[in-house]
Structures are given as C-alpha cells and as structure tokens.
C-alpha cells in the first residue's frame, strides 16, 4: 500500500510541516507500506503564510487542474496530483485556532478512510471524527486520492509549534500507519459529527460587526442551545443562537474569517 503523509498544505500550520520533516529525518519506513512524505506548499511554508495566491486545499477541482495559471497553488496542485497518482491513502496534517483537539476530518464516504478514523477515535480519548463533504470554493487535496484522513489539531496559533500537541499527533499518525499496515478493521459504530451549515459573523457594510462571544469561545463539540449567546458586537450588543440545538465546530478559526465563516454547525451521528 502506498501512503502519503502531507504537511504544509497550509504553510503557516507548522505542526504538519515539522512532523513531516521529523519523519523524513527519522527515516521511518514501515514494512508493507511505501511511504511518501510531502511538504505540499513549499513557497507558503518558506513565507509562513497559509497560501501565496489561493488556498491550495481548494485548488484540486478539475477546472483548476486543467487550466494554465499564474496562480502558484493551481500549478502546485497539478504537480501534487501527478506525484500522488498511485497513492492509496493520504494522511493530510493541519492545525486550527479552534479548540478542536485532534479531529479526523473525513471528506467523502469511503470504507478504508472511515475504518482508520473509527479505530483512532475509539483508541485515543482526544480524537473525534468530523465529516465535511463539500465546500463551494474548490476541492480538497483528498479529492485526488482514493482514501484519506485529514487531521486537524487545535487550538494552535498560525506560525506556532505546540510541543504537547505535536507528540500527541505523532502518536496518532504512527497508529494510523500501523492500522493501514496490519489492515485492521472495526465493525462497531463510533460517534461522529456531521457539518451541515456554516455561520458568518454579523456584518455591517461587509465589515465584521461582532466577535465570538466570550461564553461561546472554545466550546467546540459542546451542545449549543437555542438562545445561547454566540456573538458580542463591538457596540457590546449580544447575539443569540436562534436555531435548533447542535454542536459548534471550527469556532473562531483564523483562516475562515476571509471565507465568511465564524463557526460551523454539526450534528452528532454514528459511523
């Protein structure tokens, strides 16, 4: 089985960058697996930015992969698509400023990916499974491989390393490789969360008019009830949640401000 581990799809998410570098210098090569270690966006990594011209992790849809482009990430996406043409399984490493612990994001319904995610979630207390199947902006890197997990680790600021979360994530990655190598599987149902909508900040003339409410900050994966405070305006006006109870995730993720996402809504489910 050919497995790729990618870090630095977003260049300022240092955990993935340095985890891939560590695995490179360790010379890790599990039996039964052909391992490819990928620093996905070298230019953004060098400049410690999320991306140079466009979000690389929204650059893998067919239209973008077909056109010649002045956009660095569109060209990089083609190079990565070619490099991953024989890849069987991708582990893509990210961080988030939201209080998400170690979240395994699944971006399609696929048996092997689900299997790895389920075993990890059942064995590690801090690991949760989140399903997020589509965005309007463009396709994830996961779309070019047959099976994959994305690992989102937080809260970590952009441009910063967190040694505790680094080694926790490393353990999860090692175990994922182990699962793939031994072809372990799991039949029991495991808890997961499904993103079904996103909520933007209140705005005035396009400008952000309110921040995440102090009582909502950091409450990822906690039940959000109708009537709970979610935003606090610069004028100190409070905004309350007016929908049916569900679970907030990616609350106050730095990279989503520009995408018009203050947080995502998810439902608890089973997989």
């Amino acid at each position: 089985m050919r497995v790729t581990i990618s870090g630095g799809v977003h260049g300022n998410e240092l955990l993935g960058v340095y985890l891939v570098k560590k695995l490179q210098s360790d010379g890790l090569s599990p039996k039964e697996l052909q391992l490819d270690l990928l620093l996905a966006n070298p230019k953004a990594i060098k400049e410690c930015r999320r991306y140079i011209d466009y979000d690389l992790n929204r650059s893998f849809d067919k239209a973008k992969l077909m056109q010649d482009s002045h956009i660095y990430e569109f060209e990089r996406a083609k190079v990565i698509k070619d490099r991953l043409r024989d890849c069987d399984f991708l582990i893509d490493l990210h961080t988030t400023t939201a209080n998400m612990g170690i979240t395994i994001v699944l971006s399609s319904q696929e048996k092997l990916s689900e299997n790895v995610a389920k075993i990890l979630a059942s064995e590690f207390e801090e690991v949760r499974i989140l399903r997020w199947f589509s965005t309007d902006e463009g396709a994830f890197i996961n779309s070019i491989v047959p099976a994959s997990i994305t690992i989102e680790v937080g809260p970590i600021c952009q441009g910063v390393l967190d040694s505790e979360l680094f080694f926790k994530t490393l353990k999860v990655v090692h175990r994922a490789l182990d699962i793939l190598q031994k072809e372990e599987s799991m039949d029991e149902e495991v808890e997961c969360y499904d993103i079904f909508d996103t909520i933007d900040f209140p705005r005035k003339d396009g400008e952000i008019a309110a921040m995440i409410h102090p009582e909502f900050a950091g409450r990822d994966y906690q039940l959000l009830h109708k009537g709970d405070p979610i935003f606090l305006g610069f004028d100190e006006k409070e905004y309350f949640f007016d929908r049916d109870a569900c679970y907030g995730v990616f609350i106050n993720e730095a990279a989503y401000y520009e995408k018009g996402i203050a947080f995502c809504l998810s439902k608890k489910s089973g997989i």
Copy 2:
C-alpha cells in the same frame, strides 16, 4: 495635547485594527485632546499579514526614512512620520501569541510615557510594564514621537479576535486617554520588567530542532530557574535553562520565529 492611537502596524493583529475602527465609528473625542486614529499598515491589514515586504515596526530608523525604496513599509513609514510630526503621545496597539496579559511596553526612558504606564499598571490587575529599549533590526514607530506606550495583548492568535481581551484593552485605552487629559501623575514606584536578552530555538543546520517545552509554555512573567526545562526537541531531547534565574516573556511569539527569538529574558525592577 495631540494623541494618536494606532492599530494594524502589524496587519494580522486584529485587536488593534478593530479597536481603532470602533473608536472611529464611536466618534470619540475627549475634551482637551486632539485624537488621531491611525490604521498603520492598510495593505497588510487587507491581506491579514504581519507585513508585506518588511516589518513596519522596524522601519523607522533614519537610514530607512531617507532612502527611496521599493519596500512598501519603508514608504508607509515616511507617510506615518509626516502624519505624526505634531503628535505628542502615541498609543500603539499590538497582540502577541504569548501569554502576556495586557503588557505596556516602554521603548525609551521618558517621563510622560512612564507616568501613564505606571498609573495603568497600578489600577488594572492584568496590566504589567515591560521595558524593551532596542532591537538590531530597526527602529519602532515609537521612535518618531516624543512620548508613547505600546500595548501588547495576549495570548491571541494572529488573524483572530478575542472579545474578552478586546473589551479589557478598550478600558485600558480609555483610561490612558483620561490620564493624558487630566494630566494625572504618579510618584510611587511600580513594578516593571526589563528585557536584557533573547534566546533562540535550538537549531540544526539553521532549522529549528526543538519546540518550547510543555512545562515552560505559557509561563510568561513567571520565575525561570537554572535547570528548568525550556525546550523539547523533535527527537524528545529536553533542554534546560543554564543561566541565573529571571523572567521569560514573549514565550513562543509567532512573529519572532523568523527573528530567531523563542523567548526573551527579563529582570524584575521598579519604575
């Protein structure tokens, strides 16, 4: 007295940007004070980056202010120097990923600045005074005005707003204006910290080889003893502090990775 409040000297430190915008929309104009509200680096603010070509807050030394330059920040520094030519007092707003609370940074020995800092530190529990008089990289914006305080607020991730720290900082800024307006002064000595050195990450061939140790993370302004762990290597090697006891500040500040600073050393003193 002419007072300037600047936000967005670093474009991804959103607290200052939105605090200045709030004051603009509030139309605040204290008696006795002429208030100028400055969004210092509009291009970096638009792109939510620290800077475009060079750190604006290291762009105010004479050599840089004299030369014609292709560097956006050097040109912006000249514009700001001209705009602030009659400014008597500058309040410059920043955030840090370090656990610094609300830190008033003083960058020169000057009576009015010290006075404002002392009153704020004596009245607000979360406010501390830190003196940092020089860097090798270039002069701060404070160097072009006769008196100033820099307010560093943390921990806050780059590109993120924190509503609790936003309103705490707003109170401190209002009180600073109040002190300036009433020309209050304070004779009693107040505790402060003096930065006397900086410590880089352990490196191998120029590359970072270790992270801030979990036991040291977040311990800004706490006494660091000889023998305390400070770094944890990617190979799990521990590094220990081998100098006389002092206080770490700016521990794991994102923007200082590229400056070769993992944290700063400070001594407790009085002002």
